[in-house]
């Protein structure tokens, strides 16, 4: 017989197991190890849009490794590394073609390079949250970045709400290849500081909402030294607000994810990102996850569809496609096989972008807007 207002012993045991906060990071109880390998491939640019150089875009092979392990009663340690090897050509400039549309000047030879990133983080866990400090280092033949990250989370209201705060600082150095040969800058620095605050709230037994704000400030050399003419301000302030909603549907045995982000910076760029996914469980061991992401951005104030070589070098201008007006869709499908303490994940994503998909309007579409496919396979194990 149940006593009103007092949980049964079974319920008490269940509650002990589930009294861990649903969303705050807790000390790991076992070691988690993950590896993933991915292939990223951009579609070639139509030949009629290329004035000079190669029409072959980037292909990147990515290998990632992550391990998280408990240390003592209150500490945890994680280490991650990734290695990217890439080849392909990249846009160096845009000029007006014979048809009045932008035409691309691409890098002539295939670029081959690699990037290695390593990072380590340690966490000190408390009854109602944790604090962590991490460092990471990224190395390319012409670019080096070091970052330190401080983070913390605190639970409130019987662990129904979590406050998360993060701070990061990154110091980057760029030394372009063939600087003297092509008149590029020889060595420049960039510094970035970022602050993030988020509030995660359990709404009811099946749904949760997280809202977050991030502020980032960059200063130093923010241009692309490999472009023929790219002059940008030496400071950039960015802010973004995000919402992430999760809802579990018991009847369907699946979970709905809905994410939104609004971004704005003082380059004049603002963007909307909307992403949704459905995580469908199929029995106890399989899961399938279709997803759609929509992205739209407005061009930077100093974006030009054609490089203007008559402007003095003190006037900001860039024909970088990443600063142009466009919209993009990503269609994704992921499958997961779970078995006791291990899981295999395979995913495929297709990204397409065009001016016509954007919410803002502009006269010209940038010819280097990228389409890519991303295929990954990963393995996770706990022990």
């Amino acid at each position: 017989m149940k006593t009103k207002g007092k949980p049964s012993p079974i319920l008490a045991l269940t509650s002990a197991a589930l009294s861990l906060p649903a969303f705050a990071v807790t000390q790991p109880v076992e070691t988690e190890l993950s590896i993933m390998t991915s292939s990223y491939k951009e579609g070639d640019i139509p030949a009629h849009k290329v004035l000079t150089g190669s029409d072959e875009r980037y292909e990147i092979d990515i290998h990632q490794f992550h391990v998280l392990t408990p240390m003592g009663r209150n500490w945890g340690f994680s280490f991650n590394t990734s290695r990217e090897t890439m080849s392909g050509a990249s846009p160096q400039g845009t000029v007006e073609g014979l048809d009045g549309q932008p035409a691309l000047i691409m890098s002539g030879a295939t670029i081959r390079e690699s990037r290695t990133e390593i990072g380590a983080t340690t966490h000190r866990y408390f009854d109602n949250g944790y604090m962590g400090i991490g460092m990471s280092h990224s190395q390319e033949n012409d670019y080096e970045a070091d970052a330190v990250i401080l983070s913390g989370e605190w639970d409130f209201n019987q662990k129904l709400a979590t406050l998360a705060v993060g701070l990061s600082y990154s110091s980057d150095v760029i030394e372009p290849t063939d600087a003297l040969l092509f008149g590029r800058v020889e060595k420049e620095n960039k510094h970035s500081g970022s602050f993030t605050i988020g509030w995660t709230q359990v709404l009811n037994k099946t749904s949760v909402l997280q809202s977050g704000i991030s502020l980032t400030k960059h200063d130093g050399y923010l241009a692309d030294p490999y472009k023929l003419r790219d002059v940008r301000p030496d400071e950039r302030s960015e802010w973004a607000v995000s919402l992430r909603y999760r809802r579990y549907a018991e009847k369907s045995n699946g979970a709905w994810h809905l994410d939104y982000r609004y971004y704005e910076d003082d380059f004049g760029v603002h963007s909307h990102t909307l992403q949704t996914a459905w995580h469908q469980n199929l029995g106890a061991s399989f899961q399938i996850v279709p997803s759609v992401r929509y992205y739209s951005q407005r061009e930077a104030d100093f974006y030009l569809p054609f490089d203007d070589f008559t402007l003095p070098l003190t006037v900001n201008q860039s024909s970088d496609y990443r600063l142009s007006t466009y919209g993009a869709f990503t269609f994704g499908l992921k499958g997961i096989v779970n078995h006791n303490n291990w899981a295999i994940t395979a995913s495929f994503d297709r990204y397409i972008s065009a001016k016509k998909y954007g919410l803002s309007d502009s006269e010209f579409e940038h010819p280097a807007l990228v389409n890519f496919t991303l295929a990954s396979i990963g393995f996770d194990i706990r022990f």
Partner: protein
């Protein structure tokens, strides 16, 4: 836009219910986490960071790259 986001947050928080610890089974499921798959999430962030003008929102930045 800022007002719309604020209204959405307030609407969400105003609908909060008290959820007892033994009622949090669905919330603790792996597919209900804010980020599912650490390596996959990191990869998506890196790809979008290098191909779009926007970044940030819910995560602090790590080391950057000279992505072209």
């Amino acid at each position: 836009m800022n007002r719309l986001i604020l209204v959405m947050i307030l609407l969400g928080l105003s609908s909060c219910q008290s959820v007892q610890p033994w009622e949090r089974g669905a919330l603790a499921r792996p597919e209900m986490q804010l980020e599912v798959g650490k390596l996959g999430s990191a990869l998506y962030r890196q790809v979008y960071f290098s191909k779009e003008a926007s970044s940030g929102g819910s995560e602090v930045a790590g080391a950057g790259c000279g992505c072209n």
